[in-house]
């Protein structure tokens, strides 16, 4: 087989195409990729996958794709789109995955910026977007599509189906079998392997250029850290343009040789998860939360016996589950016995329902995860951990080692990664997994990577006494109170938002004598709570101002204060005074961004009178605000808002 020949002569495993050929040779019959199609899981082995990539690469070459060209890849997680990445890399080109749900105008920017000539897209939906922006992207000359449905009557000459291209490639490969091996041999580990665009929440998206070397290094260290090998499998369902998916589903899979599984469609992920039973899993906190909610709702409807059992054993799990998972000593024999019994009766079946029976390692990242949520999964025996990283660092800066799990830290620096905290609290990172550059933006690159080679993450954090990194906020949001104590608004707000009664919180304290907060209650949770206590209310504004609700929220804030007091760095950030806003913060009123992040500056300006009242010590304040309704009309909401004090706990000095 010609696939293997190149490898025997050149056994360097330092680029992704070479790794692919390596797996095709040593574990050719093992599954590389699965996809559910027409209700049945289809499998491609490593050797089949290598052949598919060969056909695709040769087809692209036939169309004129050259070394250094960029290949846009747009669509859901489909095997052929992953293969397209390998194909582009085999030819010395650079795959550029785009977010598939972006609208055409957003894609136009990336297509222009990366000077895309070739795009491989999933289906008609994406083809339509490409055709829409063709006028703005004159370089775009080839649009190749995977799914032919609905495209029969398209007459544009730029369009071609992947089937045709791969058929061309197979002929090309038969005629010149040495061509592709030669191209793969020319690849260098220092070549750019992929360009991932930052989300652009803070300005225009930037193309992050990563090399084979950096991604392979990051993937290797992650695989060694968690002992991942060819026997593992993962469900690939997060956007391909996101660095996490590229690391887990492409880089680590190609390095360790494990199996990726592509779900049937975006709506079937939960079912597919259950059918595949992956051993390695990644999800943002939101997904874990939704799963838990589904379980809880179903438990409410279960019979009394089942519900009783569930509650009893969940209490056992809360008491000792996480400790048993971590292998910590000090769990009594009785608890161990009960946990064992619970494992048979409750935890095992529950893991099975969640599709997590076989999970060895699960990660979450991307947002802060609530401690209760995190403990729930760990206590039923799922090894859920957190990691920290960004597009610029191959998503591999810190990982939580097995047995050393804390819900509020992101773990220790990964092997080979140096992390240091700058004077202003910013997290700086140095290591082999750093980006080579921002595409065509030397000034930004120079700004992000300093002369010592440290990358400035823009996040603020600190190391705790065990050497775990704790991320508290975006560096530019972190400030100091008047007394000089560290003030991290996001950190406080997240802590408050973990309470189900609190939907949104806005903390103030920058340059002020103390920290105060606005609260939005969660209408569903608080409404339910009020109903059960026979507290009648007419709507949000009314409910928010009930003294009982204020007491409820005060309880939450004091709990959060108690936790903050335990932390020597953040004990100065306890919330002294708070009020509950008379209306929900809303993107329509410009108070939140479309991704539901608080626009702190705007809110502070709009409600200046409330902030003044918080700091002046008043017990209440009248406010009238204009609101926009969903149908575009606007109206006024007014209320007399109570302001309440919360208890402050003395800072605790932990014995180190």
């Amino acid at each position: 087989m010609s696939v293997a020949n190149a490898l025997l002569e050149e056994p360097r495993l330092d680029t992704f195409p070479r790794l692919l050929l390596h797996h095709a040779r040593v574990r050719g019959e093992r599954p590389a990729t699965r996809e559910k199609d027409l209700g049945i899981w289809q499998t491609w082995t490593w050797s089949q996958q290598a052949e598919e990539v060969r056909a695709l690469a040769c087809g692209l070459a036939e169309l004129g794709f050259k070394r250094g060209d960029h290949l846009a890849i747009i669509g859901d997680n489909r095997p052929r789109l992953y293969w397209a990445m390998a194909a582009a890399q085999a030819l010395g080109g650079v795959p550029v995955p785009l977010y598939q749900d972006a609208v055409a105008a957003e894609m136009a920017f990336v297509l222009q910026d990366a000077e895309i000539r070739f795009a491989i897209v999933e289906d008609q939906e994406q083809v339509d977007k490409m055709l829409e922006v063709m006028g703005q992207c004159p370089a775009l000359s080839h649009i190749l599509y995977d799914d032919t449905r609905g495209l029969r009557h398209y007459i544009q000459t730029e369009l071609q189906s992947l089937d045709e291209v791969m058929e061309m490639g197979r002929i090309h490969d038969r005629e010149r079998p040495e061509f592709l091996d030669g191209e793969i041999a020319r690849g260098e580990p220092g070549d750019i392997s992929v360009m991932l665009y930052t989300s652009g929440t803070t300005g225009r998206p930037k193309g992050v250029c990563q090399t084979h070397f950096s991604f392979i290094t990051a993937a290797k260290s992650g695989c060694e850290f968690d002992h991942l090998g060819p026997q593992d499998s993962i469900l690939s369902y997060l956007p391909m343009a996101w660095v996490g998916d590229h690391l887990f589903s492409y880089a680590q899979a190609t390095v360790a040789g494990f199996t990726i599984n592509c779900p049937e469609s975006g709506d079937t992920v939960i079912t597919d998860l259950r059918e595949i039973g992956p051993t390695y899993y990644f999800a943002p906190p939101r997904v874990f939360e939704n799963l838990l909610t589904t379980v809880m709702i179903r438990m409410e409807d279960a019979s009394a016996v089942k519900r009783g059992m569930f509650e009893y054993f969940m209490a056992v799990a809360r008491r000792c589950g996480a400790e048993i998972l971590d292998g910590k000593p000090g769990v009594s024999a009785i608890d161990r016995l009960l946990y064992g019994l619970g494992n048979i009766l409750i935890y095992g079946p529950l893991r099975n329902v969640l599709g997590m029976s076989r999970i060895r390692v699960a990660y979450t990242a991307g947002a802060a995860i609530g401690p209760d949520l995190f403990r729930f999964y760990r206590s039923i025996g799922i090894n859920l951990k957190q990691l920290y990283g960004s597009t610029e660092t191959c998503a591999a800066v810190c990982l939580q080692p097995d047995g050393e799990i804390k819900f509020d830290s992101v773990g220790k620096p990964a092997p080979g990664v140096e992390v240091k905290i700058a004077g202003n609290g910013e997290v700086l990172v140095r290591g082999q997994m750093l980006l080579r550059e921002y595409y065509k933006l030397p000034a930004d690159t120079a700004e992000a990577i300093d002369s010592e080679g440290y990358f400035h993450t823009g996040d603020a954090g600190f190391f705790d006494e065990d050497g775990h990194l704790k991320i508290i906020d975006r560096a530019k949001d972190v400030g100091k109170t008047e007394s000089g104590a560290l003030f991290a608004p996001n950190y406080i707000e997240n802590k408050l938002k973990f309470f189900s009664f609190i939907k949104e919180a806005v903390a103030f304290g920058q340059g002020r004598p103390m920290v105060c907060a606005f609260i939005n209650i969660d209408m569903g949770a608080v409404g339910n709570w009020a109903e059960r206590r026979n507290i009648s209310y007419s709507g949000y504004t009314d409910l928010a101002q009930k003294p009982e609700v204020y007491e409820l929220i005060r309880g939450c804030i004091e709990k959060a204060n108690a936790e903050l007091a335990e932390d020597p760095v953040l004990s100065g950030s306890q919330v002294h005074r708070f009020l509950i806003l008379h209306k929900e913060l809303d993107p329509d009123d410009d108070e939140l961004t479309r991704t539901r992040k608080v626009r702190r500056g705007f809110v502070a300006e709009k409600y200046a009178v409330l902030i003044a009242a918080l700091y002046s010590g008043k017990a209440s304040q009248f406010i009238e605000t204009q609101v926009k309704f969903e149908d575009g009309r606007s109206g006024m909401v007014s209320a007399e808002l109570l302001i309440m004090d919360a208890r402050i706990f003395p800072a605790q000095k932990k014995a180190a």
Partner: protein, 260 residues
């Protein structure tokens, strides 16, 4: 348009249908060409559903002639019409609520099942092969309509818009040459309507199925139909392309009312 609209495959002449003294249809005549989307519209009680029921043989008209694939007859009958490739959906969803989506669509394969029930019972030999072939066809329909995520969900638990889609799926499973849709978009929100339109156009385009549809939503009809016939009080008042029908004074009067 590069659509290949073919010959007339179904035509009606002077169809009259009455129930006792009520005249549902009076001397209706129109035709349906192969591969086209043919809409029947009209105000409430105009006789649209009656016309559809005449087409697939539920009602037998008292007068008139039907020519189907070159054969002239007084009326259709239900079994024969199903056998010859006419499938339909209903205005009020007629699915088996307790059965899964998959099983419901499988019932659409009923007429194509050949093996005897003894073999079916033990799931052996030809019965097994046949079941697998049918299941494959059903899966293609599921894929086509993008309802993979509800494959095993009992139909009764689904929202209305999805139930409509499942019903379309069952009709498609019969691999029809003519598909009759009775108000496929009634009671749907805008997004569901858009989806349904896309599926109807895809069915027509990809599978080449001739479609006869009844619809209330004028916008939808005008957008997706090739030709439209308009009924009012059991009489045909217009027939032609959407543009012609839209400009027709009788149609405007029927829809907007007319000053007497």
């Amino acid at each position: 348009m590069d659509k290949r609209i073919g010959e007339v495959i179904l035509s009606f002449q002077n169809i009259s249908l009455s129930f006792g003294g009520v005249k549902a249809l009076t001397s209706i005549g129109f035709d349906v060409r192969e591969h086209e989307i043919r809409a029947i519209i009209g105000p409430n009680g105009a006789g649209k559903s009656s016309m559809l029921n005449v087409i697939n043989g539920v009602y037998h008209p008292q007068e008139g002639e039907i020519v189907f694939r070159g054969k002239t007859r007084r009326n259709m009958n239900t079994y024969e019409s199903a056998k010859s490739g006419i499938a339909r959906t209903f205005q009020n969803i007629a699915l088996f609520k307790g059965m899964s989506v998959l099983d419901n669509i499988m019932t659409g394969r009923n007429l194509k099942m050949r093996s005897n029930f003894l073999l079916d019972a033990i799931y052996w030999g030809p019965a097994q092969r046949e079941e697998i072939a049918h299941r494959k066809k059903v899966e293609e329909v599921i894929d086509f309509l993008e309802i993979q995520h509800i494959r095993k969900t009992p139909v009764g638990r689904l929202p209305y818009g999805l139930q409509k889609r499942v019903e379309l799926g069952r009709a498609l499973a019969a691999e029809p040459s003519i598909l009759l849709l009775d108000e496929p978009m009634a009671g749907m929100n805008v997004e569901e309507k858009q989806d349904m339109c896309r599926f109807i156009l895809d069915v027509n385009d990809q599978l080449g199925t001739t479609i006869v549809l009844i619809e209330h939503d004028m916008g939808v009809v005008m957008d997706i139909s090739d030709r439209v016939v308009v009924l009012d009080y059991g009489k045909k008042i217009a027939d032609g392309t959407p543009d012609e029908v839209r400009a027709n004074q009788d149609v405007i009067d029927a829809y907007l009312g007319v000053a007497h």
